[in-house]
Structures are given as C-alpha cells and as structure tokens.
C-alpha cells in the first residue's frame, strides 16, 4: 500500500535532525513533531500573555504577526508530517492550496472593506 519512502521515513524510530543529529525515540519523526507542536504552543501562550498589556501599535502588530506565524508553522507541521503531504502524491498539495489561496484573497478583501455607520458589516 505505502511506498518505500513512506515506510522508511514513518516506520523508523531513528530520526536525523538538523543541529541535533541522529536520535532514537518511540514513534520517530511523529514524536519529534509532537514535541515541536507542544513547544510552539507554550511559546504561543507566552507571547500572547507577555505582550498582552504592552501598549503601542508596533508591539501589537508584532504580537499578532508572531502568533499567526507560529500557528501557521504548527499547521504546516501537521499537514506536512501527520497528513503525509511530504511523501504523498504532490497533486494533494494543489487540492489543499487552491481553496486556501482563494479564501485568503477573499478575507483580505473583506478586511479592507470600510465599516459603515453603525457597523455596516453587521
């Protein structure tokens, strides 16, 4: 069912990581990704709480960009490793990206629409 690349990557408990080198852990790459997701979630909560009451538009913009950036990295980790987009048919990436691309354009457009008197978008 699964091809050799998939089996070699996902069934092995030994993972080679940049900087760290080769490590052996139950679940291999899946457990490493889970660890990364946990660390990133803690980092997210810290950024959200530490910069919550710090005033200034620049700080707020940094907070929003940092939080969304971390969320996107977490989502990509799940899609890339857990949903196997890294090793599966590349066409699946297109199937996922096409609606995302359309929706991002639509949301950016909506955010750009000025609010009318009394909250026109309500």
């Amino acid at each position: 069912m699964a091809d050799n690349t998939h089996e070699n990557t996902h069934h092995s408990d030994t993972v080679t990581l940049p900087l760290v080198g080769s490590i052996t852990v139950y679940g291999g790459i899946y457990t490493v990704v889970f660890g990364a997701l946990g660390v990133l979630t803690v980092l997210e909560v810290l950024v959200a709480e530490l910069f919550k009451n710090v005033g200034g538009e620049a700080t707020n913009a940094f907070r929003v960009i940092a939080l969304m950036g971390i969320a996107v990295v977490k989502a990509l980790l799940v899609v890339w490793f857990y949903m196997h987009l890294r090793t599966d048919n590349k066409f699946f990436r297109v199937v996922l990206m096409f609606p995302l691309f359309l929706v991002i354009i639509a949301v950016l457009y909506l955010i750009g629409v000025p609010v009318g008197p009394g909250g026109g978008y309500r």
């Binding site: 069934h11 979630t41 939080l67 969320a71 048919n89 699946f92 199937v95 996922l96 929706v103 949301v107």
Partner: protein, 205 residues
C-alpha cells in the same frame, strides 16, 4: 516462466492497490478542500470582527482566560499524535498497539468535547449568547460560536467515526489494507489543523 508471470501478477496487484489507495486519499482531500472553504468563511467572519471590534474581544479575553482552552489544545494535539501512531502500528501489522492508540484518539476527542462544554457554560454565565447585544460583548457570540461549535461538531463526528474504525480494526478489517485508517487520520488531523488556527485567532490574538 511461471515464476515470471506470478511476479508480474503480484507487481500489477501492488500497483492496482497503490492506485486504489491514492484515489481514496484524493477523495478525502477533495472533501477536506470543501471543508477548508466552509471553515475559512467562518474564520474570516471572525477575523473581520476582531479587526473592527478589538475592545469587545479584549473584554471577552479578560473574563474568559486561556487555561482551559490551552489544556484542550494540548489534548487535541496529543490525539493527533496518537492517530499517526495508530496508523503506523496498523501499517506495521501490530493490531493490539493500533487498538490502544486508536482508543486514545477517541478518548481524547471525548475529553476535548467535555472541555468545550465547560467553556460554553462559562460563556453562558457571562450572558455571551448567539444574539447578545450588551455593549461589552455585543456581536461576539455569533462570531465565536459559529466556528467553534462547527468545529466541535466535527470532533463529535470524528469520535463516532473513530469508534467505527476501532470496531472494524478489532475485527481485523485493516490488517491487510489500512487505507481506511489513513483516510480517517486525514480527517482527524484536519480537525486538529483547524483548531490550531482557531486557538490562536480567537483566544490568543
């Protein structure tokens, strides 16, 4: 000669199985693409509200806190990890291990739903409802409940599907063809990805 024919037959059977698995995965990805659109509309509606009404969102954050939802997020992330380990186990022919991890997925899905129920009760006590018009929280309820309840419904459906996967796995249905587990896994991970975005956008920003 007979050996060669048998080898060619096995090769063609493997190719057929791979094609069949790819087609089933493509079907699931197409379904998930439609879900991307639905969730994006709900998330987009919240994002527009968040950027236009920052004070209301700040008021809700002050009242609600993030302890419960952070724990719930960890539970869902852990369930995704359990899901890939369940798939890995069944692909390696370890049915007992698969059953254990899959039970974990279902159990954590139930715990997540309980957490969401507790959170909704807290919100109800604050009078944050679908149609609340108070100056402190006005308009938040509809934008909040639509994406989170829709996501919760997906978790509930995932739990029910997970129970079916558990039952079929127990019967040995996936021993030689785990594509059903992989397809369910895609659904479950997608639900996790949606929550990753919702958690950041609704509770942290």
């Amino acid at each position: 000669m007979a050996e060669l024919t048998a080898h060619a037959g096995a090769h063609s059977d493997n190719a057929h199985k791979k094609l069949d698995a790819n087609n089933k995965k493509l079907a699931m990805w197409l379904y998930l693409a439609s879900e991307v659109v639905i969730f994006s509309v709900l998330i987009g509606a919240y994002a527009v509200f968040r950027f236009n009404e920052p004070e209301i969102v700040k008021n809700v954050h002050k009242e609600l806190g993030i302890a419960l939802v952070t724990v719930n997020t960890f539970i869902l992330l852990m369930s995704s990890w359990a899901m890939v380990l369940a798939l890995r186990a069944i692909e390696m022919g370890k049915r007992r291990e698969f059953m254990l991890w899959m039970s974990g997925v279902v159990g954590m899905g139930v715990v997540f739903l309980l957490g969401q129920y507790i959170e909704y009760r807290e919100l109800a006590h604050l009078a944050i409802t679908l149609d609340s018009i108070s100056p402190d929280f006005g308009g938040f309820g509809m934008r909040f409940y639509a994406p989170t309840a829709f996501h919760g419904a997906h978790v509930l459906i995932g739990v029910l599907l997970g129970l079916q996967v558990l039952w079929l796995g127990h019967k040995g249905f996936y021993d030689n063809n785990p594509i059903g587990v992989e397809a369910f896994g895609l659904y479950w991970h997608f639900v996790d990805v949606v929550w990753i975005i919702l958690f950041t956008l609704i509770y942290l920003i």
